[in-house]
């Protein structure tokens, strides 16, 4: 009886969506291919030095039994790094950026910063946060990923 009650009490939680996140960092190394072209490889982040490119992959996974709706992933641009323009990707997502520490978000073309008494269009190096708003619910058991790249100052 007691067991039954406990089970009942936790039932709503189990029924809900349960999204987990995993963040991974990679050192991005341009590797020349046999045909002379250069392809970027994502490698384990060892021996990272200033000027190197680092890629971040944020994987999400809905381990619950219900779809997760209105999923918004936020990621501050890590300290001592600069966001690389147009590097954020994510399927079925609207990507916006913040230049004010994550208070307001907008598309890259809409953002401005105040500089020398006037406003100018924001550059990638001005971004403090990146946001992915998923346009589709994440179904139970479904997973996906978003990515972005930075350069170490």
């Amino acid at each position: 009886m007691r067991i039954l009650l406990l089970t009942f009490a936790f039932f709503p939680a189990l029924a809900m969506a349960e999204v987990s996140l995993l963040t991974e960092a990679f050192k991005i190394v341009p590797v020349q291919q046999a045909d002379g072209s250069v392809v970027e490889e994502w490698q384990t982040p060892e021996k990272v030095v200033p000027g190197d490119k680092v890629g971040y992959r944020i994987s999400y996974n809905n381990t619950g039994k219900e779809a997760a709706e209105g999923v918004v992933i936020n990621n501050p641009v890590p300290a001592e790094t600069i966001y690389i323009a147009n590097s954020a990707t994510g399927a079925n997502s609207t990507i916006t950026y913040s230049v004010d520490g994550g208070q307001n978000f907008g598309k890259a073309s809409e953002l401005t910063v105040t500089a020398q008494g006037g406003n100018r269009a924001a550059k990638a190096e001005d971004y403090s946060h990146i946001r992915w708003q998923l346009t589709q619910p994440v179904e139970a058991g479904a997973s996906g990923k978003v990515e972005f790249k930075v350069r170490i100052k």
């Binding site: 960092a25 200033p50 999400y60 209105g70 999923v71 992933i73 990621n75």
Partner: protein
């Protein structure tokens, strides 16, 4: 198309890195934390998930730039000394680093500079000659230093002749000098990190040139004392010591009636029959009858050398070298004994 796009991104990245950010200090831990908000249809209250933080430690990057104050060739006079080119060295890496400083002769030029020395700027503008000579320099990240490379220009250099040098700044970290860009020197970074070599194996090279815009005059003469030796006491200048003089004659262009005259100082007695003449630059090497030609003291013969005891205050050595059709060099030697 894909390749082109990627290449342009790489280029954009290089520009960004060159845009003057202070390099992240060695040992800095870079963390990233993503958060996600979402809701379930059955519960309007949003939930929050925090990811595990991912982190890595920034290693030491050995990188340096060097720039010269002379973007064009330095205009010099042949035979001039202490010609100065100023270089600014900046540690653009992210750790403290010692850099070795060397100067090497470049190629594709007409002559080499000589007597090369490197001095550290003492803060007083310009080169005074009182600065400290250095062979290496220690710099913190973003720190700059100014050094002077000081050289002599040979008297034999002609108009429009060019000398190229390379000023080499090389990381003194073990393995760097023989390394390549991208090499990892395990454990050689500050604080036990690894060190990674940036462009030019963590070094930098700045090429500079000297161009001769005026000659030294057609003939340059340098007189030196090769040795002063006493027959029993050795290398001391005491009465009885024999002083060996050398005169290097550098003819830089055609001249006529060349005559070298040298009056002996007082308190010396010319050693009879000690005149020697070589048709090349042997300055610093003792002349003998095997590498030079003995000339008699007499003026009445066909050789160039002569000694006149009655000329000057204390005798005079004269070499009548005559017409010189082209540039050339002579070394003259004679000895005298201290009275």
């Amino acid at each position: 198309m894909q390749t082109i796009k990627r290449t342009s991104l790489l280029l954009a990245g290089m520009l960004a890195s060159a845009s003057g950010w202070a390099a992240t200090s060695v040992g800095t831990q870079i963390e990233n934390t993503a958060t996600a908000t979402y809701y379930a249809p059955s519960d309007a209250n949003s939930q929050l998930t925090v990811s595990s933080t991912t982190e890595f430690v920034v290693q030491e990057k050995i990188d340096v730039t060097v720039d010269s104050s002379n973007t064009n060739a330095l205009e010099v006079q042949a035979g001039s000394t202490a010609q100065v080119i100023e270089y600014t060295i900046k540690n653009t890496g992210n750790g403290n680093e010692t850099f070795d400083l060397t100067v090497s002769n470049g190629t594709g030029d007409e002559f080499d500079v000589s007597n090369v020395k490197i001095y550290l700027d003492d803060g007083v503008p310009g080169f005074q000659g009182t600065e400290t000579e250095v062979t290496n320099i220690n710099l913190d990240p973003e720190e700059t230093a100014k050094v002077f490379v000081v050289v002599d220009i040979p008297a034999t250099a002609g108009i429009d002749d060019v000398a190229n040098i390379n000023f080499n700044v090389t990381s003194a970290t073990p393995g760097a000098a023989t390394g390549n860009q991208g090499d990892v020197l395990a454990g050689q970074g500050d604080g036990g990190t690894d060190a990674v070599l940036a462009n030019n194996a963590g070094g930098a090279i700045e090429g500079s040139s000297y161009v001769v815009t005026s000659t030294a005059g057609l003939v340059v003469i340098a007189k030196t004392v090769l040795s002063t030796v006493h027959p029993t006491l050795g290398a001391v200048a005491v009465p009885g010591s024999v002083v060996t003089y050398q005169i290097l004659v550098q003819v830089t262009d055609a001249v006529n009636n060349l005559r070298i005259v040298d009056d002996l100082p007082l308190n010396l007695t010319y050693n009879t029959g000690s005149l020697l003449l070589a048709n090349s630059d042997l300055a610093g090497t003792e002349l003998t009858s095997s590498n030079a030609v003995a000339n008699t003291d007499s003026a009445a013969d066909s050789d160039a050398g002569r000694y006149d005891d009655n000329a000057g205050d204390n005798g005079r050595v004269t070499f009548v070298l005559g017409d010189q059709a082209a540039a050339g060099e002579y070394t003259i030697q004679f000895t005298a004994t201290i009275d």
